[in-house]
Symmetry: D3
Subunit: 240 residues, 6 copies
C-alpha cells in the first residue's frame, strides 16, 4: 500500500523530520512518500496560518489521486483542512491529532496534550471536543515555544516538554501524554523513557491508523458530507 | 461606521444580492461596502469549497485593514474561515450563521434551520454545536437544491422553502426558522409573511450585530487565540 | 425606536447608573427610558431575590406594552425572569448576561466572568451553560463584595475587580472579561484600559443588541413557548 | 415528620387532588399538610405563570419555617422557584419533576414524559437537562390539553394520555413514563395498569423522596448557593 | 418491607459496617438484611475487582428473588454491576453512588466527592457523568488510602478525609461532600460535625431511597433494557 | 506480533466465525489465535449476560499474559469488561465497538449502528457516548433478532439487515453503517456491496487497530486507572 504524508507548512526540514518518524514505524510493506506545498506559511500557528495552508495541501492530494495513493496523512496537529481533504480523496485521510486522540482513548482513561504556543490551546481543545474526548482529555498545555523553535533549540524544547509532562502527571493525573505538534515527533521516544508515562506522537499514530484502515479496505465514505466536491462551471452546475 | 461584507464565493450576483439585503436593513449612518474574491468557487457547498474560498476572503480583509473598515461580515452560512478572519482583522468579524443563531436564541426557545444541500447539514450541525445552540436547534433541514439553484429558479426555491418551513413547524415544533444560505436572503420577508413564523436571514442578522458591536466600541480581542498571525520569514521568526 | 431598561431591584441609584451606561452607548436616534419596581429587593443576590423581583419587573413591562416600547432590557446579570418577560412582551427582551455572552463569543474564543458574591457563581454557570457557552467560558469568579458594596466603596470595588481580572488573564488564559453585575457598568472603560484585555459590560452589550434586533424588525416569536400567557378566569379558560 | 405540600397555583381543587395522591402513599408516621397561595394564577402554563406564582409560594414556606415543617414539596411539574425555595427553607425542598426524573433514572434506562400543553415542552426539556437526564429522556410529549382541562374532562384526559403513552412505547421505546403535570396524579395507577409500563407521578415520587431525605437527617446545604437570602435594609446590608 | 444490602466484596467486617450504618437510619418497619459473596475480591479498587465481584453479587440477588425481598442495595461506591442487577431483580436496585448523587443534587447546587485511591477517580467521574451530575460535581478527590486502610487505621483515615473536605470547601467551593466509599460510612456523622458542611454517605442515602421507592410501589421496569435475561439453552433459545 | 481474540460468550461457532473474519483481514505477519470461555452465557444480550461473561474472559487474558500475546480483542459489540481487561493486560485491549466507532468517525461524518435486540440499544448508545461519538452517531437501530438467530437463519438476518440499512440511509442520512454484533461479521462484505454505503464490522476494525497499536509499540498505560489490580491477601494488602 502507498501512504502519502503531507506537511501543510512549507518548511522542508519539518517534512523530513515527520517522514523520518513515519519511516521508523511503518510496516515493511508500506510505501511511504512525503511532500509539502511551497506556497504556505513556514509554520502553522493559529487559524490564519491553517487557512493559508489548506489549498496548497489539497493540491498535493489532488495531483496524487489516480496515482495509486491509498491514504493521506496531514502532519500538522491542528488537523487543518481535514474535512476538506476527505472530500477530495478517495482513500482515508488521517489527521495526526485525531489519530493520537484515538490511541490515547484506547490505552488510557485520562490524558493531557502538550503543544507549542498558548494561542493553539483553544483550537486544540475544540478539536478534542469534536473528536469526542472532552471528558477524557484533562488539559491542553503549552510550552510557549514557537513551532520552529523546536528545530532551532531542540535541547531547550526537550527540557520544556519534560517539565510540562511532569506537571501533567502531577496536576492533571494524566495517564498518557499526546505531543501536540508534528515537530515534536522525534523527541517522543526519549520523552517516553524519561518520564515513565506513555507519550503519543501523532505522526506515528497516524501512520499506523492509515495502514490499519487501508489494510481493512476502508475508504472515505462518498455518501453525503465527504462526497467529491461538485464541479461547477460559472453559473452552470455539473453534478459529478 | 464602515462595514464591509465579503461574499467568499466568486459569483458577483450573489454578492449583489447579499448587499441588497444588507442595504435594506442597515442604519442610515452606516457605510456599507461589499466584495467577493475572484479566484474562489462559484458557490460554497461543503468543506473543500470552503477551504478554497478562505485565502481569497482573507486577502479581501487584509487589503482593507488600515483603511477604516470597522467590521466585516462573511456572507456564507458555513461561516468559512471565521476564526482565521478574526486573527487578521482588528474590528469584529461576524459570521452569518453565528449571528442568526444568536438572534434565534434571543427571540425563540427552539428553532430549525433550512439549508440547500444535504451535504451541508452535518457541517451546519457542527457549527450550531460550536455556537452553543445544540439543545435549542431542533433540526437542520435541506431542500436539496444547489446554492446557485436559488438564483436560477427562485420560484421553485421559494416553494421548497415554504414546504420545508411548514414541516419544521409541524414536526420540529420550531418557534423560529433560520435560512441556511446567504442566497436565500431576499426571500426572507416573503417567507416570514407566508408562514407566520419568524424567519431569520443571516445577512440581516449579521449587519445589525456588526453595527451593534462597532457602536459599542468592541473590537476583536488580540489576547491569545485571535491575535494577529505572527510574521515569519523563512526560518527566522519575528514576533509582532 | 424606544428601548426601555428595567432594573429589577428597587435601588434607584442602580437604575440611574445603568441608565447612564446605556445612554453613553445608545444610538442618537434611540429613545431610552428606565425604571425599577418599588416592591422588590434592594439588590439581587441569589434565587430568592430573583424570584421576589420578577413579578414587579413583569408589571413594568405590562404597563408599557401598547405604548410603543420596541424592546426591553433586564439590567441584572442573573437575567431574572427572562423567559417570563419574553412571554409578556411583543418586542425582544434582552438579558444583560446573555447579551454579554454573545458578544464575548464573537470577539474572543475563551472568556471569564467576574461577579460579586460567590453564591451567584453556580447561578451564572448555569446561565452560561444554557446560553451555550460552557466550553468558551473558562471560569466564573467572584470578588466577594455584595452588590451594593459596588456603590458604597467604588474604589475598593475597582481594586478587587482589577485583581481578579489579572488572575483571569494568568490562570484562565481568558481572552475577554465579562463584568458579572449591572452595578459594575460604569467601571468598564477604566478596567478595560487598566488591564489591556477587552472588558464587556452587559448593559452596554444589551443596549446595542436591542437596537440591532429592533433595527432588523425582529420581535419575540409568539409561536409556542414565548406566546402570550393564556388569560384564565377561575375555572374558565379563555384562549387569547 | 411533617411534610408540607404547596400547590403554587390558586386552584384549591388541584391542591386537594395532589394532597389526595400524597396521602395515599405517605408513610403512616408522616404528618402531611397542604396549601396553595391565593394570589397566583389558577394554573401554571409557561414561564410567566411560573413567575407570578413563586413569591406566593415562598410566602407559604416562610410562614411555616420555625413551625416544625421538615420538608416541602412543590406540586407543579415545572418546579417553579425550586432554587429560590431552597434558599428560604431549612429542610429539603423537593420538586415533583426532579423527584420523578430521579425515580425514572433508577427503575429504567430510557423514559419519556407526557405533559399538557406544547408550550411547556421546551421548559421541561431544559429542566430534564439541568437534572442530568438529557440522554435518558427519549422525548417530552404533550397531549395539547390545558391544565384545568384535566379536571374538567378527566375521561378525555385519560384517553389522550393513554394514546400518547402508547406512542411513547412504540416510537420512543420508552421504558417508563413520567406524567408531566401534578393534575394527572390521580390517573397514574389506572394508566399504569392500562398500558403495562411503569407510570411515574411526580407527587408520589416527591412525597417518598421527601420522607427519605428527612428520615436520613438531610437538610438543605446552607453553604453558598442555597444559603438564606441576606437581609438588606435600604442601602445598609446586614449579613445573616 | 424487606431490603437486602449486598457488599460485593468478600470482607465480612465491611458488610457489618455497612449494615450498622444502614440499621441506624432505616425506618422502624423496614426489615433489613445483608450479605456478601465469598468468592469475590476482599476490596474493590478498580474495574477488574468490580468485574470479579459482579457474578457473586448477582447470585446473592438471584437466590433471594421469590423470597420477598423488595429492594436491593449495592454497597460499593463504584456501583458495580448495577445495570446487570436491575435485569435480575424484580424490585428496585439502588447503587450507593447514584443515590448519593441524587441526594447531593437535591440539597446543594455544587458538590465534591472524596474517595480512597486515585485510580478510582476516573471511574467515579464517568459514573457521575452517566448519572447526569457532570456540571454539579466540582471534583472527585482521593485521599490515597486503600479501601481496607479505612478499617486498619480509622484515625488516619478520618484525618485525611477532614483534610480533603477542607480543600474541597476552599478550592472547589463545594456545598456538600459525598463520601466515595462504603467503608467511610461510619465516619459520616463525625465528618459532618467537624467540617460544618453536609456530608453524604451513600449507604444511608441508598437505604432511604430504597424505602422511598418500595413505599411508593415502584419496581424495576421490565420493558426493554432491564427485562429479565433471556434463558438460553445451548443453541436453543427460550424466550421468558 | 501475536493478537489473541476472545469471544466472551461460550458458543464456539461464534468464535470460529469471528476468527474467520479476523483471518481474512489480518496482516500476513500477524499471528492470530482465538478462544472463548466455557462457563459464560451462550450469547450476550444485555447487562447480566455481560457480567457473567467477564470473569471468564479475564481468565482467558490472565493465562496468556507472559506468553507473548501483544494485544487482545474482545469480540462482543457491548465491549464487556473492556476497562477491566485493560487493567489485567500489558498490551492494548481493543473493543470491537470502540474500534468500529473510531473507524466510522474517520471515514464518515455521521453514521448509524444496526444491532440485534432492542434491549441492547440503550447499552450501545451509552457506549457511543462514552467513546465521544454522541453527535456523530445518528441512531442505534435493532433488527429484533436474537444473537444466535444470526447463525440459525442467516438469510433472514441478511434480509433484515439490508432493510434496516436502507432505513438508516433514508431516515438518518447515515454516511456509514456499523454492524452492532460480532455475529454479523461475515455478512459485512455482502451488505457493503448490496447497499452502496460503507459497512463497518467491528471484528475487522479491531484486528487492524490492534495491529496498528502493537506495530507502533503502544501498550496499555499502567499509570493510574489501568494499572494492574493490586494483589490483596485477606486483610493484608500487598502493593504490586
Amino acid at each position: 500500500m502507498h501512504i502519502h504524508l503531507i506537511n501543510p507548512n512549507s518548511t522542508p526540514s519539518m517534512t523530513a523530520q515527520a517522514l523520518e518518524s513515519a519511516l521508523s514505524v511503518k510496516h515493511a510493506d508500506t510505501r511511504l512518500s512525503a511532500s509539502n506545498p511551497t506556497d504556505t506559511p513556514v509554520s502553522i500557528e493559529g487559524g490564519a496560518d491553517e487557512a493559508m495552508a489548506v489549498p496548497g495541501m489539497l493540491a498535493e492530494i489532488r495531483k496524487r489521486e489516480g496515482q495509486g495513493v491509498d491514504a493521506y496523512i496531514i502532519a500538522c496537529f491542528d488537523d487543518p483542512g481535514l474535512h476538506a481533504a476527505r472530500e477530495v480523496a478517495r482513500g482515508p485521510v488521517i489527521g495526526i491529532c485525531q489519530a493520537a486522540v484515538q490511541v490515547a482513548m484506547t490505552i488510557s482513561r485520562r490524558f493531557s496534550i502538550v503543544t507549542t504556543l498558548p494561542r493553539s490551546v483553544p483550537i486544540i481543545e475544540d478539536l478534542v471536543s469534536d473528536y469526542g474526548a472532552e471528558r477524557h482529555c484533562r488539559k491542553v498545555r503549552a510550552i510557549n515555544l514557537p513551532v520552529l523553535g523546536l528545530e532551532e533549540d531542540p535541547v531547550e524544547a526537550e527540557r520544556l516538554l519534560r517539565q510540562e509532562i511532569e506537571l501533567a502527571k502531577q496536576e492533571d493525573r494524566a495517564e498518557a501524554i499526546i505531543l501536540g505538534c508534528a515537530g515534536m515527533s522525534l523527541l517522543c521516544t526519549r520523552l517516553n523513557k524519561a518520564t515513565g508515562i506513555p507519550v503519543i506522537d501523532g505522526v506515528t499514530a497516524a501512520i499506523k491508523v492509515a495502514e490499519a484502515l487501508v489494510g481493512a479496505g476502508y475508504a472515505t465514505s462518498k455518501v453525503n458530507t465527504y462526497d467529491y466536491p461538485r464541479i461547477k462551471v460559472g453559473g452552470c452546475k455539473v453534478v459529478v
